[in-house]
Amino acid sequence: MGSRASTLLREEEIEEIKKETGFSHSQITRLYSRFTSLDKGENGTLSREDFQRIPELAINPLGDRIINAFFPEGLDREDQVNFRGFMRTLAHFRPIEDNEKNKDPTASEPLNSRTNKLLFAFRLYDLDRDDKISRDELLQVLRMMVGVNISDEQLGSIADRTIQEADQNGDNSISFNEFIKVLEKVDVEQKMSIRFLH
């Protein structure tokens, strides 16, 4: 039956989330509506199953990796994410507005900066969260994306080629800085942003 959205989310909370993520008031209430409609257990948090119930996400080859991005603590099955955590992760996909670029440089970097967007993508590759993408990890992610349609050898050579091109310090894995370097020309701001109405 939809949700009693604005009645359960207090104004102070909305202000805090606004400051932390940069979303507008109406965006926050709408996303809260969405959050509660996904929360089948009605306990104010989302579990991995709640995400997997979205068919369009379940058929995304990297669906599980994306769901993982919402649970930063551990790989424990029992993880739950509350609305703050939910918004914090979604904030990475806010478009970068021009006036934000001129903001106070001593303030901490906004969640939707170019670097943070790249960090989101980097973490999708970095399965064990050791801040390096190893050949093995790259292979596993590639396997998720292509399914059964490409053989191990071909996938292996793709992985080798990619690491060769990106690796600069010769440790046979890709660090975050090397990752940034490889993608320096890509229009990250546009491709990793979602256009909000209102």
Partner: protein, 463 residues
């Protein structure tokens, strides 16, 4: 002893008063509701009722908006408009675009894999978390205007005394007057159905029996329609389903059956239930042949198909009524039609049903409400207003298989009813999505990696 003598005259008076009011009540009921139902005429009371209600709702909505502006309180607007704008580009286009922007190489020297490819899946995934086409179809639609029912309003705070009084009055009218009236009617309608169809069951098969059975069914359904205060507009009645055909319609609630069956006679299809439903089903089938399945038979697709095709071949039997979505959807979209009824090969008569949500949401969210609480909610709403369109009959064309035919019919129904046409299966309400869809995505992406080697399975194809 003395005390008893004192109370006696009061008791008598009370009894007389009660007796009179009951008689008056039942006479009014009979004259204004049951008799017209029997003859299929209408006094136009319901239309007047509907117009009055609409005016009141508009006033209430404007009052709320004004109240919210005065207090500087941002109004919670329902997301009947989407939260985000999705790009309609395909996997291939978008990944090519990402690569183009990042690469200084010539695109034709096909790069196999770029680390930036992941951006596409990332964004699509997060977009679907914010807003997807499927999960919102299984919960009630949110409305812009307020119809004086707290169940459908999210801005309900004390705005003005007048509004609250109006709402209170609404509650009294709905629960104190309308609900008992409707429950009485419902019991009358169902009771008459069971009793009369059982009686007709004793007649020998023939034209008299069919004629009487039709009349009885129509009458009882019309009483039920009035029990829900359903205000229905039928369009294009010249296309009404004929014997030997199959009538398909989009499914929003069990009330759909009552709405369609009060305007024409159908053979129902369904599973036999226990309890009251079972009693109704068993007596209905005595008067005319409906198709009821035992629970075990439902799984056997061949048995189901055989019984359906046997029925349609007999031209004396009524058209079958089927809801191919297989589950209730919230009336904003039409989901995948199961192909079973489209394989049988008879003429299909599509029907589109669209409810007007301003008066009361008819969607049955079976995971939230059981049947009885759902019916009580329906009977305590203001009214159920809907439009029914009878679309021209369709048959399977040459070279078209059952699935394509089903999709064609679905598109016609969606177009007429102003609903979104979705390919997703209504079964996703409860079940998981099939892996084949993910495999399709993976296949599409693999094609982008392979131009240097050519496809795995041997035959050549352009990338």
């Amino acid at each position: 002893m003395v005390l008893f003598l004192d109370f006696n005259p009061f008791d008598n008076l009370l009894c007389i008063l009660l007796g009179i009011s009951f008689t008056v009540w039942f006479t009014l009921l009979l004259v204004f509701i049951i008799v017209p139902a029997i003859f299929g005429v209408s006094f136009g009371i319901r239309q007047l009722y509907m117009k009055t209600l609409l005016k009141i709702f508009e006033w209430a909505t404007r009052r709320i908006e004004r109240g919210a502006k005065d207090k500087n309180h941002p109004l919670h607007k329902p997301y009947s408009n989407a939260i985000i704008a999705k790009e309609p580009t395909s996997l291939e286009e978008e990944i090519k675009e990402i690569r183009r922007s990042g690469s200084n190489r010539d695109l034709d020297s096909a790069s196999e894999f770029e680390m930036s490819d992941i951006f596409y899946f990332c964004r699509r995934g997060v977009e679907s978390i914010m807003d997807d086409e499927v999960t919102k179809r299984f919960s009630a639609e949110e409305l812009e205007s307020w119809n004086l029912l707290t169940r459908s309003n999210y801005n309900f705070q004390h705005i003005s005394l007048r509004l609250t009084v109006l709402w209170g009055l609404g509650v009294v009218i709905r629960y104190g007057f309308l609900l008992p009236l409707r429950v009485t009617l419902a019991f009358t309608g169902v009771g008459l159905l069971v009793v009369l169809t059982s009686i007709i069951g004793f007649l020998p098969n023939g034209r008299t029996k069919n004629f009487l059975s039709e009349k009885v069914h129509l009458m009882c359904y019309r009483i039920c329609v009035r029990a829900l205060t359903a205000i229905i507009t039928y369009h294009d009645s010249e296309n009404k389903p004929k014997n030997g055909g199959i009538c398909v319609a989009n499914h929003t609630s069990p009330i759909d059956v009552i709405i369609l069956a009060s305007d024409g006679c159908y053979a129902m299809v369904g599973q036999i239930h226990g309890g009251l439903m079972g009693v109704i089903q068993k007596s209905m089938v005595k008067a005319c042949p409906h198709i009821w399945f035992e629970r075990s038979e439902v799984k056997d697709r061949h048995l189901v198909a055989k019984r359906l095709s046997d029925h349609v071949e007999d031209k004396t039997k009524l058209p079958i009524l089927i809801f191919p979505e297989g589950t209730c959807i919230n009336n904003t979209s039409v989901m995948m039609f199961k192909k079973g009824s489209f394989e049988i090969g008879s003429t299909v008569y599509p029907v589109a049903i669209k409810y007007d949500p301003r008066f009361g949401d008819a969607f049955w969210n079976s995971s939230q409400f059981g049947m009885v609480s759902y019916l009580l909610r329906m009977m305590s709403s203001w009214a159920i207003v809907c439009s029914v369109w009878y679309l021209p009959p369709m048959s399977r064309e040459e070279g078209e298989d059952a699935v394509q035919f089903a999709n064609r019919v679905k598109a016609a129904i969606a177009r007429q009813g102003g609903l979104v046409d979705l390919l997703w299966d209504g079964g996703l309400k409860r079940g998981k999505v099939k892996d084949t869809f993910k495999e399709e995505q993976q296949k599409l992406y693999s094609k982008m990696l392979r131009p240097t080697w050519g496809p795995q399975n041997g035959h050549s194809s352009a990338p």
